[in-house]
Every structure is written in C-alpha cells, then in structure tokens.
Symmetry: C2
Subunit: 453 residues, 2 copies
C-alpha cells in the first residue's frame, strides 16, 4: 500500500464526515432565497482549505455569491497550480423523485447520494484532501492556489470580474479542475473540449388576461400554440438549428480527428438503456458522440403557461414561457449567437402576440492541447491509479469560466474529471461512488508528483 | 314601478347577502380537494330553492358531485319549466392577479367581484329569486323543476347519468338556462348555437430522468421540443386544424345565414382592445364572429415540463405535458373526434419519445330554433326590460349537457344569458354587474308570464 493509500484508509471516515457537512448546505445558486446558504458553503470551504494546510484563506464578497481564495506558497521559483471548483449546486426539484432527501447525504450501495455529491462538492473536496495529504506528508513540491466560486451553475459572472481585478494574484502555471466525467468506471478520460452555452427565457404575451377558450377560441392567437410554433421553427426535423448564421463560426473537425473519436469505447444500446430511451436523434451526418462533443445543440429546458393543475380548465393562456439554451462549440461567440437568436425570434414571432427574449447567461466553448506537460502529468496519474491510459474526450457540457480563464488570465486548464454517467448530476438522486472519491484523491496527489517533479 | 321592480328594490340587500354566502363557498369542481365544498354548495342551493317556495328540494348523491333537484307543482295540466344551472366554478388561479380574494365577494364600481359571480352562481341565483317572487306574489302559472349540478366545468358526467335514470321525473316543456352572455349591456341576445368540446391531456415521455443538457443535448430527443412540434402540427399557420377527417361532419352554414350574422353589432377594434391584443387570427375565409360561432377551434389550455423556476437549470426534461381542447360545431361527434385526435397523435409522434393521450371530457355542439314559443317568450321578456329585441347568436362556448338534454330527455333549451364580455368568466377578477343581476331577475319573471300565458 502506498503512502497516499494508507493515508486515505486511515482518514476515510473523517473525509466523509467533512464532505457530508458540506453537502448538507443547500447552496442552490439559481434560487435567490438561498443567499445565506451560499455564504455558509463559502465559509465551509474556507475553513476546509485552511485546516488542510493553506497559509491563508479568505472570503471575498462580490455583487453575487462570494469567492473563496486560499493559497500555500512553498518557494517562488516552484510551479504554481491553481485549483478551481465551485460550491454552488443546481436546484433539487422534482423532490418527490429523490429516494433520500437531497440535502441529507446518505450512503447506499457504495454511493454517496446528495445534491452536489459529484457536481461539484464531491469533486472539489477530493482536491482539498489531496492537498492536505501533500502538506501533512511534506510531499508538496509546488505552490497551490484555491479559487472556489458559488455561481458556476448560473454563469460565473462574479468570478469573471474577480479574475479581471486580480490577475496578478491568480498568476499560475496551470489550472486544475475536477468538474467533468470519465468514460466509465474503468476508463479514465481527460476532457480536452467543452461546449459553450447561451441561455434564454422566451415570453410570448397574448391577451391581457386568461380568456375563455370557447368564447375566444378560433379568433385569438393562443400564446402557448404560438410558443410551440416558435420552438418548432428553431430546429429542423433532425434538430439542426435553423437560426440564420448560427453555424458560421462552428469549427469543422478534420476527418482524421473524427476517426480518432470513433475509437472511444461507446455502446449505443447501453447509452440508450442507461437513460431509458428507445431512439436517439440529432444532426444528420454525425454520430451520437459527435453530436454531443463537436456539434452545437438546442434544447428547451423548461416550458410553462396556462392551466397546469388537475382536471380541465377551458382557457386561452394570457402568456406562455420557455427556457431555451443552446450549447456552442469553438469558435462560436456567445454574444454573436445571442444577437442571432434574438433577431431570429423577432423575425418568426407570429402576429397577434408579443415575443420578448431575456438573455440569462452564456459563455464560449473551450479546447485544450493533448501534448502539454499538464496533460502528460494527468495522464500518468490516472494510469498509475486506474491502470489504464486515459482517453482525451470532448465533453458536451459547459464550464463557461474555463474559456474565460484562458481569455483573462492566459491560462489553460487541465480537466481531470471523476464523474460517471450514473452519477445523475443535475437530476434527482445525484450520487458519487465512494471508491471513485477515494481514487480521485489518490490520482490528484500523483498529478502533483508528476507535474512538479 | 312594476310589481317585480318594487319587489327587487325592497329585497335587494337580502338578495345580495344570500348570493354572497353562495359565492363564499370555493366549489371548484376541477380540483378534487374541494369535495366538501361541493356538498356545501349543493346544500346551499337546496335550501335556497326550498326557502324560495319549492314544494320540496333534495340532494342526490352521484359518483361525482351531488345533483340538486327541487320542484313546485301548480297543476298537472299547466306547462312545466325545467331550470338548469350549476353550482361549481372554475379554479381561481393565478391568484395574484385578483384585486380582491376570489371567494370573498366584494362590490366595486357597481360590480360583484368573485369567482362564480357570473358563471354560474350569479346567473343561477337570479332564477331562484325570480321564482321566489312568482311564488310569493301568487303569479306562478306553471310547474317548475330545478336541476342544478356540480360538474358543468368538468363535463357533466354525473348529471348525464342522472338524466338517463330519471327521465320521467324530468319531463317538462322547456329547459331554461342562464349560463351564456349578451352582446353588450344594451344588446340582449338569445344563444341559439353552442360549440361542443373535446378536451385532452397529452404527455410526451422521454428519458427516464431529467438529463444534463450539456452531456446529452444534441443526441437525445427533448420531450418539450417534441411536444412543441406535435402542437405545431395540429394546425396550419392560420390555425385550421390539420387532423385528417376533422372537418368531415362540420355543418356548413348557408351564405344567407352568414349574411344575417354580419348584422350582429361587432366592432373588431373594440374586441381587440377589450382583451389587449394587437391582431386576431383564425381560419381563412371566415370573419372573427364566424370563427367563434360556426367554426371549430383548437387551443392549448396549459403546457408544462422541465425547469420552470427562477434562473437557469440546464436540463433536458424527462416529460412534457399539454392540455389541449378543440371546440366542435354541429354535427361533429366528440367520440369520433376523440378517435381522430388520438390516431393523428400516434401518427405524428416523433421517434425517440413516447406520446400518450388522456381524454378528459367532451360533448357535442347544439342548435336551437328561433321560431319556438319559448324563443318568442324570451324575446318579449328581454324587450320589455331592455327595450330592445334580443338578437339570436351562436356562442363559441360549450355547455355539453345542453346537447345531452336533447338526446336523453328530448327537450330543447332556451338560453337566456345575462353575461357581459367584461365579466371575465374563467379569468381573474370575474365579476357580474349589479344592475344586470337585478334586470335578469326581472326578465326571467316576465319569461314565465309570456310563456305560461
């Protein structure tokens, strides 16, 4: 047993106790009523970093949720690793689908069940514990900075400003992030691409009040029917996006790289089965993995309007709403996409209703090289623990701040994710495998070893 | 001042007190939690009929909400009028748009504000008070039966069964109903046509849980996008219904009758302004009044799915739902339309999702002659009170039981409505004009006079 393995074994119940305390805080950033919980979660992280061995750690107020910053400096001429993570989580609704309450963590069948168990409290905490081991075992050979935010799930606006204002303090050699996934439990992977995002709320306003559908139906434009028509016009039958100019800046991936991607182990039947669908669909000419990794997408994230209670109510709704987001790929610019989206909606808005678009947040996509020192160190660290060389993958998800880090700080990020598809992040019964949690701590500590050697 | 006018003046505060007690009961039939309130409302009506002078009045249990039946027999050889009305009301949501609570009736600017003020508690109560006057002044020259139900807003299923089981008891010469509208405050009208209805709930089921829209977006069929496509395919751009066979049995109205309809006073600009819309739309080749009166329509009454809270949640919904209803005209058969709708949805359901249709309720349209004794009596009664001959109109609304009365009991109905467009039935701030309430009592008492003379 290696030193780090022994350390984890000796301290595992304490590690879980600490993580569970963190998971109990309902730090749901999209819901303003959790303002206080955001501060509690930030304070929890600050203390954890300090107790793990940081020279100092503090909470910085922002216009939004606070940023936690901590650091340990060994020697100025040593490399510096900047750890990024987030303490905010997604809303837990629908609550009735959770087998145990989302903010009362519970271990079942070797998994920790809680909102944030993986995304990102669990993954973030692995870094705090790997750092603790390195400090306590006097094996730390580089400087470390922690930069932990509370708005990742809502667009990282405050952290972006914080980075602009603190460029000097945040100077580093590499940013290390665990907020992504592995291909499966036995197949580690390093994420070398992320999609960007543009998130909108569309409101279709019709009559000045709900109308009786008998007395008005047939002569008045129904906002819900109109909204359906608008959504339908956003994509073609294969879900290729109809917005003029939308694909103009999409980076076309060379056939050679697409051939490489085909080597990724992926079983379509297992994919379908795991999420309970009978068929996939998407842009013509691309495989499922390509549709998820190298092509943009458009999804309705929520829709509502009119009577949604039990039974029947014979009305024409006064308004109808949809939350609609598109995932972007390099080199699509969210600001440009925002304008294209808004213009297209103005153009296709049916007569007789009024359509307004609210831009909620956005960020560009990201790409990382596979031939960097950091990539090699990460690859060796995974191989040592998982006994398998990790595969480079392009993820369909978005971490908008990763592209901003490159733009503002000039720093690349190395995305060492430990999530699994079955972790159900953003869904009811989010969970994180116990053995992955411990293996992650081990892998991260080896990354330090290889990178700083 | 006539006798009836004096009687109303002397008793007006008592009439309002009694009506307000009725309006305070939240007898919302579409919401099962109001089961007890349905019984309270039925009991309130039973007592009111009895106190107004019925020989007897009772409550009959059904599989659904109870039916109230009461009668007064003068002499077997006299004509019999069957009064139909309903004590159930629509849900009051959205509650925040009400200026005073929906079940705390309030008089403002000469109007009674409450859910049910017009539909149908207010209109029903006018009949109870007109009957009271006729009994107390010994002017009643016919037999009267009251048939009051609690499921009008949900399809009248229990009353239908009640009619089948009690044909004999319900024998009468005419059914008198106040559950429709006047053209405006100075223009009385008699409704000679009603649309039918078919009401469905459509569910689109996708993945077995909410999915992360980044990790899955672009390769998985989104149930909300799929639902939008389904709704869009139900009608063409002018909202003509695309369901094959849907128009097969639609009664085409002769040009001569359409020319008559054009004489109805109707100002398009005022219509648009009253409901705050910038433009109307509907089936090509028909005027707004025709679209509302003689043509079928299709409306989304409610739609929901995915994340509908504040801010952003980046998910693909597991399911999406819509309540969708169509208004039918003679001679469309709701059972046939139900099958056509279900078949069409099965046909257009996108691959990769599962579509289910629940039929919630339905009923056929109705037509009444303008040359009957009852029509003439109603016409004279209106003319006496409003000093204007009422116009025959076809209403876009549905009272499914009216067509059933004809089918089951062989009886025509005379629809003496006193509602106004500004009464906002089914909407927040439903109200009923005080002076219309009193004029209605007067008009109804004159109907008895002319019909039984």
């Amino acid at each position: 047993m290696s030193n780090i393995q022994s350390y984890i074994k000796e301290n595992q119940t304490r590690f879980l106790d600490e993580l569970f305390g963190f998971l109990r805080i309902p730090s749901i950033s999209p819901e303003p009523k959790h303002k206080k919980d955001m501060l509690s979660a930030a304070e929890y992280v600050r203390k954890a970093i300090l107790q793990a061995g940081a020279d100092h750690a503090g909470i910085v107020s922002t216009d939004g949720n606070p940023v936690v910053y901590g650091e340990k400096t060994i020697r100025k001429d040593k490399p510096t690793i900047l750890i990024y993570g987030h303490y905010d989580v997604m809303p837990a609704e629908p609550l009735d689908l959770w087998k145990s309450p989302p903010f009362e963590p519970e271990i079942r069948d070797g998994r920790i069940y809680a909102r944030g168990a993986n995304d990102d409290k669990g993954q973030l905490y692995m870094h705090v514990k790997a750092f603790e081991y390195l400090v306590r075992s006097r094996a730390l050979q580089c400087n470390v900075r922690f930069l932990i935010e509370g708005e990742e799930e809502t667009g990282s606006e405050s952290l972006k400003k914080f980075c602009i204002q603190n460029k000097e303090m945040l100077s580093a050699d590499i940013i290390l992030v665990s907020d992504t996934s592995m291909l499966d439990e036995d197949t580690p992977s390093i994420t070398v691409g992320l999609r960007g995002i543009c998130y909108f709320e569309v409101k279709v306003s019709g009559p000045n009040r709900e109308l009786h559908s008998g007395l008005y139906g047939g002569a008045v434009v129904n906002p819900a029917n109109a909204l359906a028509r608008i959504i339908t016009r956003l994509t073609d039958e294969q879900y290729r996006i109809n917005i003029p100019g939308f694909y103009d800046d999409v980076m076309e991936i060379p056939q050679s790289e697409r051939n490489e991607m085909k080597k990724t182990p992926f079983k379509l039947e297992e994919f379908k089965e795991s999420i309970g669908i009978t068929g996939t669909a998407g842009e013509k000419g691309y495989t499922t993995l390509e549709r998820l990794g190298i092509r943009p997408s458009l999804d309705v994230n929520g829709i509502w309007g009119g009577y949604t209670g039990e039974g029947t109510k014979t009305i024409i709704p006064a308004d109808a709403y949809a939350k609609i987001s598109t995932r972007l790929v390099p080199n699509q610019d969210p600001e440009k996409i925002r304008v294209l989206f808004e213009n297209y909606l103005a153009q296709i808005a049916p007569e007789g209703v009024h359509v307004t678009v609210k831009y909620l947040h956005g960020g560009p996509g990201y790409m990382a090289p596979v031939n960097s020192d950091a990539y090699r160190a990460a690859s060796m660290a995974y191989e040592k623990v998982f006994r398998k060389k990790p595969l480079p993958v392009r993820s369909g998800g978005s971490i908008p701040i990763i592209a901003e880090f490159e733009k503002i700080l000039g720093l690349k990020s190395i995305l060492m994710g430990f999530g699994l598809e079955s972790d159900a992040i953003h869904s009811p019964n989010e969970n994180f495998r116990l053995n992955v949690f411990f293996k992650g701590i081990e892998t991260i500590s080896h990354f330090y070893g290889f990178y700083c050697a």
